[in-house]
Amino acid sequence: MTRYAMAVDLNRCVGCQTCTAACKHANATPPGVQWRRVLDLEFGTYPDVARVFVPTACQHCDDPPCMDVCPTQATKKRPDGIVTIDYDVCIGCAYCVVACPYDARTKVTKPAFAYGTPMQNEAKRFDDARIGVATKCTFCVERIDDGTAKGLTPGVDPDATPACVNSCIAKALTFGDIDDPQSDVSKAVAGNAHFRMHEELRIGPRVYYLYDATREDTPIVEEAM
């Protein structure tokens, strides 16, 4: 059984937003819509401060809260774990947006372009089906499907791998089949200390954050919420 997952090495990520930009290219998202982005977080008080860059996107949860709440079944989970949205079914109620603990979903209500009127590339790629519905990271599902149809391996062959992973300049992102112990992502997770965000919600996110356990003894005072 294939189950796609991503590993994010926080030790490597530098917050450059190359993945954010690559995603915007690959998925032609309109201005302000970022299916993935890198958060710039700061913890502690001067001079004991830690600053961490955290890539975040749809976590393709095992038990996705967005799917449960969706009143239309537009949001579905494929057998390979990818959570999808059927733009032709979605009514744009945004219930999923307020259900996703990772702030991974967006709804745009009207066409938007970088400089007001569409440029050639925007006009070429504009898709009215995405207006008024929820959108989010798909793990570049079309690339995965096209690639696997050609016998390519997601996470290994660029043409079958999410654009963000292809683009990462710090090799912070690894993708692949977490059910295959030989996949890069399985090895990355198995070989490193890791956590999943909001594990306490018991929704089984499929993005694994790798960190180096040696910092555990460094006290950084938690930031007030």
Binding site: D9, L10, N11, L39, L41, F43, A50, V52, V54, T56, P65, M67, D68, V69, C70, P71, T72, Q73, A74, V89, C90, I91, G92, C93, A94, Y95, V97, V98, A99, C100, P101, Y102, D103, K107, T109, I131, G132, V133, A134, A193, F195, M197, H198, E199, L201, I203, Y209, Y211, D212, A213, T214, R215, E216, T218, I220, E222, E223, A224, M225
Partner: protein, 279 residues
């Protein structure tokens, strides 16, 4: 230890969504009270139509918020897990039943009360199922919303009582107990959130608490005045009306605060920080 980022207020559900919770709660509560208060004839019909209008108004309001309103009927497609589908189904069932009740079909009134209550429960659970918002997903949010629905509906019931001549002291005391219950549930709910939501959410909830407390005091004083017969007969309905209005207003503000002001999203949280090389 968990390192938490800054939480952001949700913006995707705006006043139109809040209006659905206000209208839906008050409308369903009103229908319940119309049945529980044993309103008859014209008054019953007015109360039920008003309840339906409130629910319908709320739904119409939120329909305007849909990105694809023309596909609104797709909302019914996921009753298995989605409380929004269930809310829609409850609303869809409520309308014919309510009209049947207006048409005095035997048993329909009681069924309408149940359907309205079911609608209120669906709405409450809908909010609670939105797991990105800690202030919503707290388990006590659902009972709080159900109780306030009954309070808001009961409040409207008594607010209209001078004109419709419905309700009695027993029902008013019963209503008063719900007003009291609401504030208790809110306090417990607020306490449960103390370490769960950002400070700004607590500030918003505390402001709601002040409004709720004020409305509760006004409401309960008015109920007490009536219950202890401290007012001339002619003023009883007016006092009940004040009790009702205050309670409903408090509930409306609570919804506003809950949906628009306390709705901070789950903040990104890291149980560990990266080491960034050898220490």
């Amino acid at each position: 230890m968990t390192y938490r980022g800054r939480a952001a207020l949700q913006k995707v559900w705006d006043a139109r969504a809040a209006a659905n919770f206000m209208g839906g709660g008050a409308g369903s509560g009103l229908i319940v009270f119309a049945v529980a208060g044993d309103a008859r004839g014209f008054a019953f019909d007015v109360l039920l139509v008003a309840g339906l209008a409130l629910i319908g108004g709320g739904l119409l309001s939120v329909w305007h918020e849909l990105g694809r309103p023309a596909r609104a009927l797709n909302v019914f497609r996921h009753a298995k897990t989605s409380w929004m589908s269930r809310e829609a189904i409850a609303a869809a069932l409520l309308v014919p039943i309510a009209f049947a009740a207006i048409a005095a079909v035997p048993g329909a009134a009681m069924l309408a009360a149940f359907a309205a209550a079911a609608f209120a429960v669906c709405q409450a659970r809908m909010l609670q199922a939105a797991r990105a918002i800690p202030a919503w997903r707290e388990p006590l949010s659902a009972p709080l919303l159900v109780v306030t629905a009954f309070v808001e509906g009961g409040g409207l019931f008594f607010a209209l009582s001078p004109w419709l001549r419905v309700g009695d002291e027993r029902l008013l005391v019963f209503f008063g107990s719900f007003v009291l219950l609401r504030v208790i549930v809110f306090l417990v709910y607020r306490r449960a959130l103390a370490n769960v939501v950002p400070q700004a959410a607590l500030v918003a909830l505390d402001r709601a608490a002040r409004v709720l407390n004020a409305s509760t005091v006004v409401s309960l004083v008015a109920v007490a005045i009536v219950a202890y017969g401290l007012t001339p007969e002619a003023w009883t309905f007016a006092a009940a009306s004040i009790a009702g209005l205050a309670a409903t207003a408090g509930g409306a503000y609570l919804k506003y605060a809950l949906v628009l002001r306390a709705a901070f999203r789950q903040a990104p949280a890291l149980p560990h920080l990266p080491a960034r090389g050898r220490r």
